[in-house]
């Protein structure tokens, strides 16, 4: 076990959390991510029992989840972030699996449904039906590529490139502040 101390994507000593009016913004560092892509000969796996979702959708089963990222491609979510790819690979034999935990900053937005809807209207060029609970989609937010996963009416996960964590946080914070 290494004694090195990992740094959250936003660079503070601890994961960031801020309440802005009705919106709570939280940096998640407890999420493991691995991309999974079907190889030509592989049949579609059901890692951890997950029925891999179709375009625009996500699924959750206990502490694991998956969302569609492209034809024959998914991102698998877990709560382990050491070498999550190895765990996923064992569940998806014959598939291409790549560790992605460190590639992303994961931010949770919690707000009453109406406020969350208004916030989304200010942030992304998507019609509301593209982000009903259970939906997951990749889109642009303030010129940054992000994945949005609507966990519930009142909870949204925003995943962005780790290197853009600060800019993404700033955009979310600013937009939420304008609502407050």
């Amino acid at each position: 076990m290494t004694d090195l101390i990992p740094e959250p994507a936003l660079g503070a000593d601890a994961p960031m959390r801020r309440e802005i009016g009705a919106v709570t913004l939280t940096e998640r560092t407890d999420v493991g991510l691995a991309s999974l892509a079907l190889r030509a000969a592989a049949s579609e796996p059901a890692p951890f029992g997950l029925i891999l979702p179709g375009p625009g959708d996500s699924v959750v089963l206990q502490d694991k989840g998956a969302f569609w990222t492209g034809p024959g491609q998914w991102m698998i979510e877990g709560s382990e972030n050491g070498d999550f790819a190895a765990t996923v690979a064992a569940e998806a034999p014959g598939c291409s699996v790549t560790e992605q935990t460190d590639g992303w900053v994961v931010l949770d937005l919690v707000a009453p449904a109406e406020a969350l809807g208004t916030l989304l209207e200010r942030l992304v060029n998507l019609p509301p039906e593209a982000l009903t609970p259970g939906k997951a989609t990749r889109t642009l937010m303030h010129h940054m590529s992000v994945v949005l996963i609507r966990r519930s009416d009142s909870r949204l996960t925003v995943m962005g490139m780790r290197s853009l964590a600060g800019s993404l946080w700033h955009a979310l914070e600013d937009t939420a502040a304008r609502l407050a």
Partner: protein
């Protein structure tokens, strides 16, 4: 003018405001214009060129004259139309384009010089001497002209953006718009209704017409209440749709806080509205008639006079007349009379003019002159028999007919068509897909007609979407007569204004015509007609008609001008949507950024990345001192540099090797597991566009490294190749650029340093030779990858660890290597090291470079095909003899400048004799002189020749010696050590 009873203002709300420092009182629901008029203020501005006194011409966003500076300090906003500025308590406004005061303006002397200041005068007058144009004439003209002034202070207000999606976007909340929105709303469609006014109702608010026997405003209020109850309808008041773009996208600005004393966190919001269908219900704009001196304060459009009367309860005082060529002018007279205002004459140019009420009609008469410097005093009326009489007149309403507000239909270059029955342009074919005009905007005006049309057009739009339509209950009303015999201008010798904002008169149009400005587009540019803040909304059609008369052509033959976004002025702040300062653009930070901050690094923008440029140490006063120290430390001991920004692409699959053979010009399928190879990627046209290393981690697993700048393009091109060019190949790609922190550990002591952090990994050259790679663990079990590769030319490695450990690993390496002289180095030293080694970077791969030019022609394999390989061998490209060479100044003190062009010594400096250019240059602390890399014709065969680098921009020339590009370790022994 004065305030009377009634109107749609909230008299319980008393609002104080100032204009040019004087205090006034208005009410809720007032605009600045209506409040000033109610206070008897008619003079509100000065014209652009002649500084003529001007009042209010209109009651809407088309206003050319009543432009003011609103607010003060950093919030000062010039050129605000008083007719749409919603009054709030504490509003401050000032007139503009005048000195020393609005009443006494020194530059009004321009008006006396009018004969010299005709159309295109500055093109003719200020031609000589030529040198004076830029330095003297232009600044002088700009100072004399121009309208309001900017505060020059940073904008203190907040802006925002948003996105809306609708089945139907309704632009305009008047009769047609409300009927369209009610129809679509009741049919269950998702509706966005945007109106530029702060109150829905459009023209209905300005009329006395009854709907279902009730005032129109009552029906509007009911309709609005109905719409607000519908979850599927979104009403956006104070929102101007300013442009229509492709695919049903509309740009709109919502003025969120402009009507408040403190605009709050968001002053304006930029909406991007995507609509499946759009109903343009923007109404119509009344047009003036051009007659002599028709621009005096007190002369306004008859429809505006009616709007001020009915909506804002402001009535003209004294002797009031109407000048009209259509029935609509009589409507104003009727309303005035009904409100107790005496109308001494309706001067109707039509010989058979009707008379609808208790007022005097002067048939077949026209207004041929006016007097009154700061306010209208008298008008000259000329009868059909040619007799003229000067009559006292303090307020004149002018009714020239109505032009449909069709601007948005022209945003995709559709041209309007002439409708002779209403004497106006109406929307033509080929407008934005999915957009249809309704009501007055389509030339189907009048309240009842517009409502019916709005409902019909909305119904058709929904039907086209496959939706069923539930009709709206529309009120019963009757439209008044609308006959017209168009009168564009009254002939005469005095100036008759067509474009009041730009001071363009009938004479100017005539002069432009005489000077052979045949096209209306030329007319516009020669006279400035239709330019500036109002874009000629009250002028364009009249100008066309005048032009048509002069050319003897019909109006439709004469043409139309082009309508472009924005419909009304849009502030730069809202276009930026508040993205200023740290939010100006996204910034990517590498994983060691905070560590570098703690180390005192100076950062540089590299595309979106912020990278450490160098790390100043105590006592260093110039960047070169830091950079030289860092570069020397790498050559002598060991240095650390964050190279995370290089793109990393994970390539897996049974065909990964075969796929990469197609992507790289050199072979990758033959690369052994655990080894790295340098590779080149070509564009389809054979030009070299990216280089980097490719590591094979397993039989079916590679990691491709790209340059920082091309991380995105290479991934995109590979993904395109995978999906579109080679879809049968079993290969999967995913970017891992951000997932791994990658640290270059470079220098003769790099192995010694790494040995202190790896977990039992043999780093000897036998076990881990040059160009080897391996997964391993470091620092007690941290997952990592190690690559033995070198950009600096020294013994070097790149260590990759999960990004969240980047800073910690960097810090640990610094700690472990203290006794080895470990030194962090930034992009500047990185560049010095690679130039000393002759390694290509972005400056060399500039989109004109072939592999052969880099001396790497053999890396374009002929044993296999790859993207760009065949094209790279085509005649012309294959014969390019320019080669990458090293360049050293003959006099070691001389400067080498990148961008300088290379010539044979003694040759004439010309494009024909140009033999290449310097791509990169730096001071080499190793060689203690400046050095450069460059492409030189036949460069490989010209070693030791002395050539000249010419830098004509700085007027310098330097003699350079051609040398090997490998200034350091030309045999390449060091990285293999």
């Amino acid at each position: 003018m004065k305030r009377i009873d009634g109107g749609l203002i909230d008299r319980g709300q008393i609002l104080t405001f100032t204009f040019d420092g004087r205090n006034y009182i208005g009410h809720g629901g007032d605009t600045l214009a209506s409040a000033l008029l109610a206070n008897g203020v008619q003079l509100m501005g000065r014209s652009f060129k002649y500084h003529r006194p001007r009042g209010v011409l209109t009651a809407g966003s088309e206003e050319p004259n009543a432009l003011v500076e609103l607010r003060s300090g950093a919030r000062q906003e010039p050129n605000t139309r008083a007719t749409v500025a919603e009054l709030y308590d504490g509003l401050e406004a000032r007139s503009q384009n005048r000195w020393p005061s609005l009443a006494v303006d020194a530059l009004a002397v321009n008006d006396l010089a009018a004969p010299l200041l005709t159309a295109g005068f500055y093109y003719k007058t200020f031609m000589w001497p030529k040198a004076f144009w830029e330095k003297l004439y232009e600044p002088m003209i700009r100072r004399a002209a121009g309208l309001g002034a900017l505060s020059m202070a940073p904008d203190p207000d907040g802006y925002d953006r948003g996105f809306l999606h609708a089945d139907l976007l309704v632009i305009g909340g008047g009769a047609a718009g409300l009927a369209a929105a009610l129809t679509a709303g009741r049919s269950g469609a998702r509706v966005v209704l945007a109106d530029e006014d702060f109150r829905l109702g459009g023209r209905m608010l300005a009329e006395s017409q009854l709907l279902d026997g009730q005032p129109a405003s009552d029906w509007v209020a009911q309709a609005e209440a109905d719409l607000r109850r519908m979850d599927n309808v979104r009403i956006l008041p104070r929102t101007t749709v300013f442009g229509v773009y492709d695919h049903g996208i509309h740009g709109a600005v919502e003025r969120v806080g402009d009507h408040l004393a403190d605009p709050g966190p968001v002053r304006q919001r930029l909406w991007r509205i995507t609509a499946k269908r759009t109903v343009l219900a923007a109404g119509a704009m009344e047009r003036p008639i051009a007659f002599a001196d028709n621009d005096r304060p007190g002369i306004m459009l008859a429809g505006a006079m009616r709007a001020y009367l009915n909506r804002w309860a402001v009535a003209p005082e004294g002797r009031v007349a109407i000048f009209t060529c259509c029935d609509d002018g009589h409507r104003t007279a009727l309303d005035l009379v009904a409100r107790g205002v005496k109308v001494f004459a309706v001067i109707d140019s039509r010989a058979e003019a009707p008379r609808f009420g208790d007022y005097n009609v002067m048939r077949g008469a026209v207004v041929t002159g006016t007097q009154g410097r700061r306010a209208l005093r008298t008008i000259e009326v000329t009868q059909s028999d040619g007799t003229s009489t000067w009559l006292e007149c303090s307020a004149l309403g002018v009714a020239g007919g109505w032009n449909p507000t069709l601007h948005l239909t022209g945003h995709h270059r559709s041209r309007p068509v002439w409708d002779a029955t209403i004497a106006a342009f109406v929307p033509g074919q080929g407008g934005p897909a999915g957009l249809a005009a309704a009501g007055a905007a389509a030339g189907r005006g009048g309240c009842a007609a517009a409502m019916a049309d709005g409902a019909r057009v909305a119904g058709e739009a929904l039907a086209a979407l496959g939706m069923s339509v539930t009709g709206a209950d529309l009120p019963a009303t009757e439209d008044p007569p609308q006959a017209i015999a168009p009168l564009w201008h009254v002939p005469g010798k005095r100036r008759a204004w067509v474009d009041q904002q730009n001071d363009v008169t009938v004479k100017d149009i005539r002069l432009a015509h005489q000077e052979n400005m045949v096209s209306v587009e030329h007319l516009k540019r020669w006279t400035t007609l239709g330019m500036a803040t109002d874009q000629g909304k009250t002028a364009n059609v009249t100008a066309l008609a005048v032009m048509a008369e002069l050319t003897g052509k019909s109006i439709p033959e004469t043409g139309t001008t082009t309508y472009r976004p924005p419909f009304t002025p849009v502030s730069m702040g809202v276009l930026g949507s508040g993205d200023t300062g740290p939010g100006f653009r996204p910034r990517r930070l590498p994983p060691t950024h905070r560590w570098a901050e703690r180390e005192g690094a100076v950062f540089v923008e590299v595309g979106p990345w912020m990278r450490a440029q160098y790390f100043p140490r105590a006592g260093e006063t110039h960047w070169r001192q830091s950079v030289d120290r860092e570069a020397l430390a790498v050559r002598r001991d060991v240095g650390l540099c964050d190279v995370t920004t290089l793109g990393k692409i994970d390539v897996q699959g049974a065909d990964a090797g075969a796929f990469l053979d197609r992507i790289y010009s050199n072979a990758m399928a033959s690369l052994k597991v655990g080894r790295v190879r340098y590779g080149l990627m070509l564009r389809e046209d054979g030009i070299l566009y990216d280089d980097g290393t490719c590591a094979r981690l397993a039989e079916d697993h590679y990691v491709v490294t790209t340059t920082t700048a091309n991380a995105g393009p290479v991934f995109r091109n590979m993904e395109f190749a995978r999906q579109a060019l080679f879809p049968d190949m079993d290969v999967q790609l995913v970017s891992t650029t951000d997932a791994w922190a990658q640290i270059a550990v470079a220098g003769p002591k790099s192995r010694a340093l790494l040995e202190r952090i790896v977990d039992g990994f043999d780093l000897s050259s036998d076990a881990f030779p040059f160009m080897a790679c391996a997964p391993l663990t470091v620092a007690g079990g941290l997952r990592a990858r190690l690559f033995r590769i070198s950009f600096s030319g020294e013994l070097a490695y790149e260590l990759a660890v999960p990004a969240r450990y980047g800073g910690a690993v960097m810090a640990r390496l610094m700690e472990l290597g203290a006794d080895l002289g470990v030194t962090p180095y930034g992009t500047e030293a990185l560049a010095v090291l690679r130039i000393e080694k002759g390694h290509a970077a972005g400056a060399e791969l500039n989109g004109q470079t072939t592999a052969a030019m880099l001396g790497l022609g053999r890396m374009v394999s002929v044993k296999k095909d790859a993207i760009g390989a065949v094209m790279s061998r085509r005649p012309g490209m294959a014969g390019d003899t320019r080669r990458l060479v090293g360049l050293r100044p003959v006099d070691a003190e001389e400067r080498v400048v990148s961008g300088a062009h290379l010539f044979t010594e003694g040759a004439v400096r010309s494009m024909d004799t140009d033999e290449g250019w310097i791509t990169s240059a730096c001071y080499s602390p190793h060689l203690q002189t400046m050095i450069g890399l460059g492409f030189l014709k036949d460069g490989a065969d010209r070693m030791d020749e002395v050539i000249v680098a010419a830098n004509p921009l700085e007027g310098s020339e330097v003699r350079l010696k051609v040398v090997s590009a490998h200034f350091v370790d030309p045999e390449g022994d060091r990285p293999r050590d």
